[in-house]
């Protein structure tokens, strides 16, 4: 069990590291593309396209890690006004709702991914790019987000601090 949880954490952080690496890649790709253009070469169109796709991948790869880091902003209004016992209940309830939303999107994302394979769908830009390579990120991202939010439902830590304001 402990090994499983360590393996899972490795995946979660591994995905975040990959997101960070892609952010650096975006910078390199733009610089290369401009550089090539200005020395009279034709920039590879995939450089440009890869930066657009990177926006999706970065978001999907990093979002579950950010849940663990409590980095998704939320507003503490109701939770700040409640007595502690009730606040804990509401906080866990909100986390549960987040698990639900994530699960629905993971499930629908998985269906979308399957449809894209069955229909042989392409994303049409400079290249024809198989769509499933993009949509496969949905079940992974939202699946992991569901797990991370469920830690705030069942775990010792709460999502909400009880202090008024917007929180990270």
């Amino acid at each position: 069990m402990q090994q499983l949880s360590r393996f899972y954490s490795l995946i979660l952080y591994g995905m975040a590291v990959l997101a960070g690496a892609m952010l650096v890649w975006v910078m390199i790709a733009v610089i290369m593309s401009v550089g090539m253009r200005n020395i009279g070469m034709q920039p590879w169109a995939w450089l440009f396209t890869s930066t657009e796709y990177a926006m999706l991948y970065i978001t999907m790869l990093g979002a579950p890690w950010l849940v663990r880091e409590k980095g998704h902003v939320h507003i503490e209004l109701v939770t700040a006004a409640l007595p502690p016992a009730l606040r804990r209940l509401v906080s866990r309830g909100v986390a549960l709702a987040c698990v639900l939303v994530s699960l629905i999107l993971a499930w629908k994302g998985f269906e979308l991914f399957q449809t894209n394979i069955a229909r042989n769908d392409y994303d049409v830009r400079a290249y024809y790019f198989p769509r499933w390579i993009l949509t496969v990120s949905f079940p992974i991202c939202f699946g992991l987000m569901a797990i991370e939010f469920s830690r705030f439902v069942f775990g010792t830590e709460l999502m909400h601090s009880g202090e008024a304001g917007i929180h990270e």
Binding site: R37, Q42, P43, R125, A126, Y128
Partner: protein, 315 residues
């Protein structure tokens, strides 16, 4: 009375959207009490490139979009892109019937009509185009803006240095010299204000617009025969009317551009023929390659080309 929801790929103010909205008005008039179209908006309602999937999945019943936006699912749209006919001829010779059949088989949508056809593309340039000794267009050193529709032609035949820029960035790109030439349809340059920077139009024009109305097949089949007839008849009528209206608009645009100082450079003789042939054949090549990969194969390739291209017209 039956109602179809609809969205269009381009913003409401664009001429092609206006044409679609005219079609909607005609249907709503002819179909009073029988069938109505309820337009839900443009790219602000469903993303431009998500609309084909939305009609396929029945989120919306009808979409007005270039076939190129779903070229991944239906590479046969390139038969329209490389066509030198208008919808009027393609309707008569059964070309549109075949395209409809392919749409139904591959995407589960009914191809109702090919609107705004007969409009083709030009290459528009900031500086005077250079021609080589044989009269071929020489684009070396030119920063040409490209996109998925014409890249096969621009890079493989012209050997151009293509820069992919979203339409919204082209104005700034031209202003600062990031690009100094772009392809665009014969119509619409003035609306985009690119004529502030572009001074030359290269003839001949190539390609054709491939804007069409597609309808979710389940929805189509659920309609009464009377509703189907009204929709189809009005669509065929609008295919014709839109060709004529846009011809007038094109002539007006060209005249206005020329009055504003736009100069025309025309390729001649063999150079012209090669230019046109390359635009067509590079596109056909892409279509054949993608058709061969799909489960339906490329068996209908020659038939399609026969129906959408008339070699006689290019002589």
């Amino acid at each position: 009375q039956e109602t179809l929801t609809a969205v269009h790929a381009f913003p409401g103010t664009l001429i092609y959207t206006q044409s679609f909205l005219q079609f909607v008005d005609k249907v709503n008039k002819a179909g009073e009490g029988v069938v109505q179209i309820e337009v839900r908006g443009g790219p602000e309602a469903i993303g431009m490139f998500q609309q084909p999937d939305a009609v396929r999945d029945g989120i919306v019943d009808m979409v007005y979009t270039p076939g190129s936006f779903y070229g991944g699912a239906l590479p046969e749209k390139d038969a329209l892109v490389a066509s030198n006919l208008t919808a009027v001829e393609a309707r008569e010779n059964g070309g549109i019937a075949l395209i409809d059949e392919i749409h139904q088989a591959k995407m589960g949508v009914k191809y109702l009509g090919w609107f705004d056809s007969g409009v083709s593309y030009n290459l528009w340039m900031k500086d005077e185009p250079k021609l080589d000794a044989n009269g071929n267009l020489d684009v070396s050193g030119i920063k040409l803006r490209g996109n998925a529709v014409y890249n096969a032609f621009f890079t493989e035949y012209l050997g151009a240095q293509v820069i992919d820029l979203p339409t919204t960035e082209v104005y700034a790109g031209l202003e600062r010299g990031v690009v100094d030439a772009t392809g665009w349809t014969q119509i619409g340059l003035i609306d985009l204000k690119w004529n502030e920077f572009l001074n030359y139009r290269v003839e001949p024009s190539f390609f054709s617009t491939d804007l069409g109305v597609i309808v979710n097949l389940e929805k189509w089949n659920s309609l009464s025969d009377e509703a189907k007839t009204i929709l189809q008849d009005v669509a065929i009528e609008h295919e014709k009317a839109s060709v004529e209206a846009l011809r007038v608009k094109r002539d007006e645009d060209f005249a206005a551009l020329e009055a504003g100082g736009m100069k025309v450079v025309e390729l001649q003789g063999e150079a012209r023929a090669n230019y046109l042939a390359a635009a067509r054949e590079k596109t056909w090549g892409r279509m054949k390659g993608l058709m061969a990969e799909s489960p339906m194969g490329d068996g209908q390739y020659d038939t399609l080309i026969g129906l959408f291209y008339n070699a006689e017209l290019d002589k």
